[in-house]
């Protein structure tokens, strides 16, 4: 679940969705790039969770409050409404149970921000159609047997999941292959065909289930 060291185009877009001065939990925070941006540019009180020891050590050595943990198992320990935003950036597709993770995010935070690579992009579709092989691209660099991305989805799939868990989509945007956001709000099928990555800002649509500890 570690983010690559390469420059990540979605982070600026994600950061733009966060209101200044808010409380943020970054799940799968990697080496803390987003948390640093948020603290510096938006005076955010940020916390992080990261699976890799390397990533956690880097964060704590930089003075970021980050704990070693797993999105799949550790989100259950956070009380509800403890953050303004819970961010899951390029990590959803690597979780064991994306639905449960998303539900926890909506429980812990007043809003959730999720970014993920779009498996519905036309080049991904073409690779499978023309070559008959599992697609690989700049956002999906791994071969099928090594990939940590075990739960890839398309933008349409994600929209369905958001609806299933009762989330309201406040904003949804796609980034093209070079990481630039689409200029005009495109209809969903167009986003799904031409978006290389997608970023969604969600909020809880229905009351919390009281059974949650």
């Amino acid at each position: 679940m570690t983010r690559g060291a390469h420059k990540r185009s979605d982070l600026a877009v994600v950061a733009d969705m966060v209101a200044p001065g808010s409380r943020v939990l970054d799940v799968g925070c990697g080496d803390g790039l987003l948390l640093e941006m948020l603290a510096r540019d938006r005076r955010v009180d940020g916390r992080g969770v990261e699976l890799s020891q390397r990533g956690v050590n880097d964060c704590v050595a930089k003075g970021l409050p980050v704990i070693q943990g797993d999105a799949d198992t550790d989100l259950a320990d956070y009380p509800e409404d403890s953050f303004d935003y819970v961010i899951l950036s390029q990590t959803l597709q690597a979780t064991q149970r994306p639905r449960v993770v998303l539900e926890h995010m909506l429980r812990i935070g007043r809003r959730a921000i999720v970014s993920f690579p779009n498996f519905g992009h036309w080049r991904v579709r073409m690779q499978l159609l023309l070559h008959g092989r599992m697609p690989r691209s700049t956002n999906l660099q791994y071969s099928w047997h090594e990939t940590p991305n075990i739960h890839l989805c398309t933008i349409k799939d994600f929209v369905d999941l958001a609806e299933e868990v009762g989330a309201v989509i406040e904003r949804g945007m796609a980034l093209d292959l070079v990481g630039a956001p689409f200029r005009v709000a495109a209809p969903l099928p167009v986003m799904n065909l031409f978006g290389a990555q997608a970023i969604f800002l969600l909020k809880r649509g229905r009351a919390l289930e009281t059974s949650t500890p």
Partner: protein
Amino acid sequence: MTFSPPSPGADASEAIGARHGAASSGKRVHFPSDRPLVTDGGGVIAPLTIAYETYGVLNEAKSNAILLCHALTGDQYAAGVHPLTGKPGWWEVLVGPGRPFDTDRFFVISSNVVGGCMGTTGPASINPATGRSFGLDFPVVTIRDMVRAQAMLIDHLGVETLFCVAGGSMGGMQALQWAASYPDRVFAAMPIATAPRHSSQNIAFHEVGRQAIMADPDWRSGRYLEAGVRPEKGLAVARMAAHITYLSDTALQRKFGRKLQDRAAPTFSFDADFQIESYLRHQGLAFVERFDANSYLFVTRACDYFDLAADYGGSLALAFKGSQTRFCVISFTSDWLYPTSASRAIVHALNAGGASVSFVEIESDKGHDAFLLYEPDFFATMRGFLEAAASARGIAPSRAKAS
């Protein structure tokens, strides 16, 4: 400042003097009888002496004080040269100019725990009611009692809020207790290689040590000082057993393996054929030179009674609810005495309580003792955390760095 074991039949008070004379050179504060320490067990310790050391200078705002809490058999000599053993202080690697606990920037305080034997009132001290040493008449103290005593010292030094409380093992328990008991007086806390409570296994190992001491005929129901003897064999065995728990299987194997001690073949006897046997015997013997057997009973008992959640209705999260303290929890992969799972329990509780917490598990094969040793990731973590916390607290960088 040298220590020599008391000769047989030496006067008891002389023996105590010899043992503790070396520590008398350090800083002390005496609390008279009208300022008693009332213990969790209902005991009263009055008058109370606390032996402590300080490193660095308290700034004008009194905002740069760090309290270092020592582990089971540690003492106030965190840095510099230990007057009794001649060895470096227990956290010498971390305390000093330019080190993570930068004495050019911070005012570092370290005190001997109540119940200890390096100058703070403990079972070897004279009981004013009887004129003899307390022995087992000393009140059983808890981690919270140790922290209460430290708070008295901090008051005495004129420090309202500690910038940081840090410690490993039993010292980590004190750091946790500080954050729970005095949330407004702790800006940052670093509980390292520790646990929120003593496990059954932890208690079991301590009980083995205590029984070894009590089984030594020279223990004399705790009144050995008056008889001019010491339960050296029992205390050495206690230390040997405990020492094994501080190391990992890997570290023992790497250092000693099955290597023989100064011999080519086994002697078919109960000599210390193996290097590990010789090493443990040495550890045991060195320990009895510097530690009081009754103190060992008291400090191990304090750890056994430690269960922070129990004081908060069984919820560790409640112990830290609403805490404004920044925490940095550190564990080590090969520490099986206070394993990472124990640190995770602390982290979960802190998260649930809404506290600011960093948590790192450091890769090390050196076992529990790793917290006393140089590990690059460990140091980088401490440095980064302290640096960020110090700038949040507005503590000026050290002059050495600024220039």
